[in-house]
Symmetry: C2
Subunit: 455 residues, 2 copies
Amino acid sequence: MQAIRRMITSQALAPGDKLPSIRRFARDKGVSPSTVVEAYDRLAAEGLIRPRPGSGFYVAALLDPTDSSAARESTDRAVDPFWVSRQSLDAGRETPRPGCGWLPPDWMPLAAVRRAIRAAAKMDDATLVEYGSTHGSLALRRMLVRQFASEGIEADAGQILLTSSGTQAIDLICRHLLRPGDTVLIDDPCYFNFRALLQAHAVRIVGVPYTQTGPDIALFQDALATHKPRLYLTNSALHNPTGVTLSPKVAHRILSAAASHDLMIVEDEIFADFEPDRSVRLAALDGLGRVIRIGSFSKTLSASIRCGYIAASPELVEALVDLQLATGFGGPSPLAAELVLRTLSDGSYYRHLGSLRSRLARRRREIVADLAKLGVHPWTLPRGGFYLWCRLPDAADASEVARRALRDGIVLAPGNVFSVAQTAADFMRFNVAQMNADVLRQLQKAMDQVLTGSE
Amino acid sequence: MQAIRRMITSQALAPGDKLPSIRRFARDKGVSPSTVVEAYDRLAAEGLIRPRPGSGFYVAALLDPTDSSAARESTDRAVDPFWVSRQSLDAGRETPRPGCGWLPPDWMPLAAVRRAIRAAAKMDDATLVEYGSTHGSLALRRMLVRQFASEGIEADAGQILLTSSGTQAIDLICRHLLRPGDTVLIDDPCYFNFRALLQAHAVRIVGVPYTQTGPDIALFQDALATHKPRLYLTNSALHNPTGVTLSPKVAHRILSAAASHDLMIVEDEIFADFEPDRSVRLAALDGLGRVIRIGSFSKTLSASIRCGYIAASPELVEALVDLQLATGFGGPSPLAAELVLRTLSDGSYYRHLGSLRSRLARRRREIVADLAKLGVHPWTLPRGGFYLWCRLPDAADASEVARRALRDGIVLAPGNVFSVAQTAADFMRFNVAQMNADVLRQLQKAMDQVLTGSE
């Protein structure tokens, strides 16, 4: 292969030229014909050469693929809900990303994931190459059913639909329930991608200020009366970005108000596994009728093995199955579901969750102390998870701080990307697992620049 | 673990009961405490028991998850575009599925896929657990760029967006380009899920009769003038369901008409690798401006490792990146992209494609002969692929035949699910790789019942 590569890159062979016959090349190089067949096949698979049936192999059009997308990215992009996603996802692996929404790899259950992948190589043929069933892996759905039962949520496996991510789960629900012009309630602040997602649905977005016990219930009730929203989208456990836990009292009032206004609720459980003990859940209080539960395994298992779920009424799940078929043909990868199931069933996974929670609790305390030295203070002290929702000193503009930090290669998550009303200009969400001394120095520098107005 | 399972299933331990302490249980059973820790952790991961911090393990609410979805499925469901998908995907693995759109596992490159999975277990940490970049694996996009170049299609890696399936690729494009009430052209007949997908977008669907050389070009031109469609969605190579290859002349006329009516075209390349040699492509003639190319690896590599792609203008790709972020947070699984890349680069994959094409050619000939004995004849003889689009004898109603066959556990694909105008009532699409003597007998029986009107 190297010999041919050299001939092509040195232009001894030009695009369109015929390669030596397998027999001749084998004789010239003193190797077996099967070695040459193997080499030609690999080069063909890479697209460097092309076979013409009955005629031999030819050099393909040569080119060194460039990536125009990299050049188009710039630090001038508007600081909108996409800003943090794009910067976090496309940053080089060495770039500190205190603004991102996931843990660094060494906080994840790598050994269990690798074991699951090794075991998957021995799986039955059909799971490896076929589409899988419309609802997704029955074994994984059954495991979820048992987990839900232990939380007081009754469901059968037919009430669960596996999806390819938590976000896709919400998107499917919105596609089914919403029409352009409908109104949707979200928390203010809330996960920035809720805003991006709802914008894609062309719905009216109404924010309800979030308090230390959940949404401001008086304003929530007002919003229902005034705007007649179709849907409320929220995290009950470890709300993103604040880390707040919904109180039972507010949960009960949300459900009462929802019942009298025929409001549907999507309860996003994506951070549930970070809770030290289980807090109140709308789906546990009210069942899976008005409340739709969604979740994924991205935060504690793997975001690369993409798999999420929807738990809802049987009728809704049936409608969503059709919609998922129409728009994605089938649910999540059967291989992905199998990897999730095997990792969840791995003895070490449960221990991993326990030590992860302790490690995060320590890290939160450390970072709170570190940030305090910069005059940055959390709005609340979360019971779990990796976020701190903090106010910057002297009302520093967080979007400006984020822009400055990006020049030094640090990705931050400025407050207003989380705020419908744009009332979080001096807030910043920090991911404690992605912070270190260097990040803190750069943050200090960026804040100083913004506060002194220097370039 | 077995001991505890027995205690739970025999109800010696009831839900809520505390399990023996780790030390006591280890002593009782004569095993090490670490063995018991491992067993308890696994049972906790399975949801059978639950830990209470500082207090020990308790039996979780016991239940044998049922699956209500299975009970709801029935043979009475309307024979609409979802009918074939649902029946094919949810059929038991032993059910013959001559109506389905994929090859049986033993026709797939299983050894190469298993090698790729084994290698993936040793991948770097970040690829295993992080989200990955917004456009998807650069290495896989570069390989696609080289492949496209050899087909005369110029693109750089930034013009390619990886998606989680070919269908999701089309869906993203439709979400971006279409608004409810827009008109979309499709072939009649066409892949039934195009109809389901477009219905989900609430657009007007106009069908153009498909001929042995592509869409009827006079009617295509008429449709452009009359309906001003925004988009035309088609397969150029081995059109589904007919297996027809677009002729260069018709391709040129489609593009001329599209240019004068500002029509966008999605060229779905999902069956491209089945062609014995490459036929004309709209994207090769016209470039990636008006024409958007989509594809996936589901048909020849694996449908379980879900990965598709979009190749389009840089501007369109940028808009689709945002839309994919908003609606799915990130593209396909980085692990899936890696598995696809490794399988494509495996020396054996290219040989697999070659032998697959020969094997399918032989099988098509055999099944054509077998079907002829039943009076079932293909409308055309495809150059490649696994479909035969056939007319049933004596104008037998294919939907009725499919209903009868389903009672005997055979999933068929009746013609009208492919037809907007419902003009294919006596057609059936057969997947030659899923046919055998038993299927042929059942087909004969179902046709006899329909033609004689017997129950």
